[in-house]
Symmetry: C2
Subunit: 131 residues, 2 copies
Amino acid sequence: MCDNYDMTKCQTVSEMLARLGDKWTVLVIMMLADGPQRFSDLKRSVVGISQRMLTLTLRSLERDGIVARTVHPTVPPKVEYALTDLGCSFGEPIRALGGWVFTHHDRIQLARAEFDRRNEVDTSNKLIKLG
Amino acid sequence: MCDNYDMTKCQTVSEMLARLGDKWTVLVIMMLADGPQRFSDLKRSVVGISQRMLTLTLRSLERDGIVARTVHPTVPPKVEYALTDLGCSFGEPIRALGGWVFTHHDRIQLARAEFDRRNEVDTSNKLIKLG
DNA sequence: CTGAATCCTGTAGGATACTG
DNA sequence: CAGTATCCTACAGGATTCAG
């Protein structure tokens, strides 16, 4: 895979994945893919996220130009977050990845179960040896 | 994006991304994409990884059925790691993501720079107000 | 060479309280 | 409502050491 891309750029991909892998980022993007959302809407729909993490995640995405933040100077304040064009275009590779997960989900579960089973056996073998 | 997939599966994608986003996983997969590698080869080629993390990463990938571990019972021991079919198929979405990153890399850098610049200004404004 | 085990540290991130 | 600030903890992960 690295034949086409030099290692520097592989690092970039890894870095980008690290950004996405922070557990919340993708979920937030997915929610915004359905249309603009207010802060509290996101807080409600992205189940389990803390106020702090939502703020940080949104800031980070805004910094990367993936979401746009629009403040309506009303009272009480209303802030809307929306995907930018860049953010929308990002949906495509995410979908690709999602598709792969969906396709191979069962196989992965199977592999895990088998691995764990073997591991179980090994452990009990160890215990037998120890006993 | 979540129109097509129910939320449960979105969680799965997020979870999978979290797995991939642990900084080392993708790099290891990328190295293995060029062919089977021994433990110490990987340790050398995946620059910066600790012995511990390489072990853990490989175990995890093995558990998911993405890499296969082959022990040659020689002295000194020789252990080879290779991508399974599942692991190879994973290259495709990764490439898609990689492609996106490469395509939009400059734009992201630009967005970041601008965001930081604005942030700079805000900070100095605050300082002025404070002063 | 390929690990497993132990120790130790930084930090991610939750809970909470406060502001405009 | 939409944050910011502070505190606190659990855990990720590096360095090191031991073992087969």
